[in-house]
Every structure is written in structure tokens, then in C-alpha cells.
Symmetry: C2
Subunit: 318 residues, 2 copies
């Protein structure tokens, strides 16, 4: 098991460092990458960033002022990147050439030459903060912004069960080092794109309840996506909505894909087991959140199949 101190030493020994974020990048992988790059620049290193997908506009500020440098890397560091498949299709070449991976996923496959993983960290940025400390990096307001972005986005604004006292204490320190906490939270959680609003109101309008309100199902069709002008990232968090309604034990989100296949997300509360239910349809996942796919049937038919299976189990157990 590697320590933050050793990870810091490896980075300090290198000169031309490539930092890689996971595909479909979120605030934590991008906050981790940008904070690490700023720290490395402070230590006189040359840095380059790579990611299979473009950085979403709303995270653009993380990379402001980081020079675009071109070089052949002598060291490759992946951040918040738990397994080779998460490199994405444009970055597969790097998946087996990573010198150091800094992560917080207990499921990390240890694909890198060396791995620093802290599964107790609510965000990879918590681990990056430790490494920056061991590197002797000064936490500038810019670095504080990057780390705070990772902390707050990966915890749903300090809401989830992954948050520990350490998470809150780090938030406090980053604020003292100049993180624009309220402004970042506003941009991440308050602002909604017009496309998001449109797809959300269509999804909410489609919501139906069954089993006396213990089940809820929502359908998002291709034509909804088109009419809303929505893309996949606009759906972030939507599948969680049905189970958020009081009394709902099983929340289903049925999503039609452009190729006509159907993707189902299921969220449950105890005693229902989402993974068990989805396994009836060849899917899987966790006890509280699982998924499965269908092809050759309509979204409504997929919704009906889930409803039938959930109803059967609710009648048996609740």
C-alpha cells in the first residue's frame, strides 16, 4: 500500500508529467487534475492534460491560466480513474502506461504501476490535497477552487454518506485559502441549462405511480431528448428522482437510446433489492441502485415489465 508521501516523491522526481482524467469527466476528476497540475507547475514541472472527452464549459475555470505545453511525457499520472475501461475510447493507448494513479475508489483495479487509493476519501480531491501537502505545494486560491470543486461535486454539496469530518475540515481550510465556495456551489448546483429544464419537465410529466405509490416510473424517449435539445450530460441525477418521492420504495427510469435499445435505472429502498430485480432482466448493480437493458421492445413495454416484477415483489414482501 502506497502512502501520499511516496506518491509525492514520484511526482517530484519526474519532469514532464501527463495528467489524465476519466472519460465523461466530472468535477472531481477535473478538479483533481487541475489542482495537481497547478501544484506541479509551482514545483517547476512541465504538465500536460489529457481526457477522452472535452472539458464541459462549466468546468472551464479549473484550467484557466494553466499553459498548454507539448512534450513527450516521462511520467503519467491518472486521477480519480478506477479502471482501464474508464480511460474512454480516445485514451485507451494510455491505460497500460500509467506510472501513478491517485484515486478514492475502493474498486480501483490497480492497473497502474503504483496506486495511491484512499477509499475513505469522499472525493479524489481529498487524496490530491494530501499529496500536494507532501510535495510542499502552497494552496493558492486557484488550487483551493479546484479542490473545492471536486469535494462539493462528488458529495452532492456535502450531502452524501461519503462525507466525513475530514471532508468538512478540508472544505473549511480551502475556504480559508481562498476557495470561492458559494460561487462554485451556485454554478454547480443552482444553475440549470435550458435543455435540462426541458427534459426534466418532460420526465416529471411522464411520472406514473403504481402499487399505491410504492413504485414510480418515469420514461424518457428519444423524441423528448430531441424536443428538449438535451444530451446525455443533461440527464445527470434524473434517474434518482422517482425514488425521492415520499413513500416510493422502487423508482424506475426508462431511457430510450438513439439506437432503439432501452436502458433502465432502478433505485430502491429496503426491503427491495435493486440488483436482484434487475438480474431478472440480465442486469445487475447494487442493492439500492441497479440497471438493465432491453432491445426490440418499446419504452412502455420495458416500463411494464419492471412494474410487473416490482409489484410481484412488493406484494410478497411489504
Amino acid at each position: 500500500m502506497m502512502e501520499a508521501k511516496q506518491a509525492a516523491e514520484r511526482l517530484l522526481q519526474a519532469d514532464n508529467i501527463l495528467v489524465i482524467s476519466h472519460a465523461s469527466p466530472d468535477g472531481d476528476t477535473l478538479g483533481s487534475a487541475s489542482a495537481l497540475m497547478r501544484g506541479l507547475l509551482q514545483k517547476g514541472k512541465r504538465v500536460r492534460f489529457a481526457c477522452s472527452d472535452p472539458v464541459p464549459d462549466k468546468f472551464g475555470y479549473l484550467f484557466g491560466g494553466i499553459p498548454a505545453q507539448n512534450f513527450v511525457p516521462d511520467f503519467v499520472c491518472a486521477v480519480d480513474l478506477a479502471g482501464p475501461q474508464l480511460f474512454g475510447k480516445n485514451m485507451q493507448e494510455w491505460a497500460n502506461r500509467v506510472d501513478l494513479c491517485i484515486d478514492h475508489h475502493g474498486t480501483n483495479t490497480a492497473y497502474a504501476r503504483e496506486t495511491l487509493v484512499d477509499p475513505c476519501a469522499a472525493a479524489a480531491c481529498e487524496v490530491i490535497y494530501e499529496v500536494l501537502g507532501k510535495m510542499g505545494v502552497t494552496i493558492t486560491p486557484e488550487i483551493a477552487d479546484c479542490l473545492f470543486t471536486g469535494l462539493t461535486t462528488d458529495t452532492g454539496c456535502f450531502q452524501y454518506s461519503s462525507v466525513t469530518p475530514r471532508t468538512h475540515r478540508l472544505a473549511a481550510e480551502l475556504m480559508e485559502n481562498g476557495a470561492r465556495a458559494a460561487e462554485i456551489n451556485r454554478q454547480m448546483f443552482e444553475m440549470k441549462s435550458r435543455a435540462r429544464l426541458e427534459i426534466e419537465r418532460r420526465a416529471l410529466a411522464s411520472m406514473r405511480f403504481f402499487c399505491g405509490g410504492k413504485g414510480a416510473v418515469m420514461i424518457i424517449r428519444n423524441r423528448d431528448m430531441e424536443q428538449a435539445g438535451a444530451e446525455e450530460p443533461d440527464l445527470d441525477g434524473l434517474p434518482a428522482l422517482p425514488r425521492q418521492i415520499e413513500g416510493v420504495l422502487a423508482g424506475v427510469c426508462v431511457k430510450e437510446k438513439p439506437d432503439g435499445t432501452i436502458k433502465v435505472s432502478l433505485r430502491t429502498h429496503s426491503p427491495l433489492d435493486a440488483a436482484e430485480i434487475c438480474s431478472c432482466f440480465g442486469g445487475g448493480g447494487h442493492k439500492a441502485a441497479a440497471g438493465c437493458s432491453f432491445s426490440g421492445i418499446s419504452p412502455q413495454e420495458a416500463a411494464d415489465r419492471l412494474e410487473k416484477e416490482i409489484t410481484r415483489r412488493l406484494e410478497e414482501t411489504v
Copy 2:
């Protein structure tokens, strides 16, 4: 200016203490009251709670295990209660008989005999925590739950600009003292009542944009409230929705009241001044959030008047 230490002394000198929360009680006034009462019980005092309105079901756990005692108080303490009008209609008798007020509103009118107010505190619970410390109270898991509830509800789960490093540090300490942080956050922020869902989807369905998306208006009619089975508390936060849409500088929420009057909430971003716009209709408020009322016209007519005034200003200034 009173210090926490003096407030603690006053409380320790009393024996039969009445603790009062503000009308339409929220998580902070109730978390403050219940934490203070638990601390006083620990110190051998007798305590009684009073509030003009009933404690909402979702806050019931705050008072679990606190004995219902009946006595004539020798000391009256108001918490999170900034002025006499906030005592509510059933508690007016107490408004001029308060010995000590513990609060975090800079607007506190100093109606009590003595007042401990810290306007830098994000929640009254931050101030209560200081007082409990000076009283020598041990922070039990129950007290930690009460204080955490106030912290998280008054800051929108640590989202608002009122949050300081001290707020995050206190959250960390309360977690270490046994606060069920994730569970409380889930109950406060994730769960939605069925009525709330229904009124939200009706409100979203009504949303219209004008001025190329710089203005947005939402109408909530009495028949929407009836069909949704919604009450006033179910509307919490809804008027903020229109301005949360990307590009919207003026978000209007038009709410029809049972008596037929129309209440308008306006939220703006710079350069629009919500208070100025509402003052055209006899209303007022702050730069970013203001309101006004109409009677004798339809909700649509009220929406049209706001739209016209906002359009005029947008054409002038943006």
C-alpha cells in the same frame, strides 16, 4: 454586546425555562430550541417548549425523549427569533417578556431584555453551540443531531454564501459527536412529498420564457394547488426556480391566493433590480429578490404586467 459566556450564566442561574421558536418553524429555530433544551436538562433544569405553529412531522425527531413539563417559567429564552412579529399570532403574549434571545440575524430588533446575536453565524445553531460549550454541556449524539439539523437546513446543505469555515468545522465536530449527518441531509433535501412533486411539475409545465430567454415566468393557480393536494409549505424554494435557468436574468413566480389576490415573487440577476421593478407595483424587497401583490386581476394579467415591465428594462439596459 453580550457574550456567549454571559448568556450561559443567565441560563444556569434559572430553573424553569421556557424556550420559544419562531412561527412557521424551520430546522434552525427548532434545532436551536431542542439542542438548548437538551443541554438545560443535562444541567438539571426544567424546560418547556413553545411555538405559535405545530412542529412539522419531519422535525419530530428533534424533540424525541424531551419530557413534556408544565410549570410557570422563571426565565424565557427565544431562539432564532429576530423580532416580535415573528412570535406568531398564538405567542404574542410572550414577545415582550423574553429574558434572553439567542440569534444570528443582523436585523434582530433587540426586543428581549438581553440579546446574544452573531450575524456571522450561518445558523442560530452555531451560536447555541457556543452557549452550550460555555454551560459545560456534553454534546451527546442527540444534541449533535439537533445542531446539525439547524446548520444544514439554514445553509441549503452548506451551499449558501453564509457558510464560513467555522460552519464546516462545526459540522465536522458534530459528526464526530454522533450526528447522523447523511440521514438528516437525506430527510431534509432528498425526500419530496407527493404533493410537492405534483405542484412542482405543474409549476414547471407552466413556465414560459420571454425576451429571448432572459425572462422566465411561472404561474401557480389555486386549481393547481387543489389538484396537487399542496399546501403553502410545499412551495418552499419554488419561486427560485425560474431564475436558476441558464441565461435568465429575471425569474417571476405568480401565485394565486385562496382569496383571489395575486402574490408575485421576482428574482433577478444584475443589472436588473428586483426591488425597483416591484416598486412599480407597490411592492419592494432586495436587489436580487423582491415581491408585490395584485388584486382584482387574473394571474395571467399579473404575469403580463411583470413581463412588460421587465421587457422594458431589459431593452433599456442589457
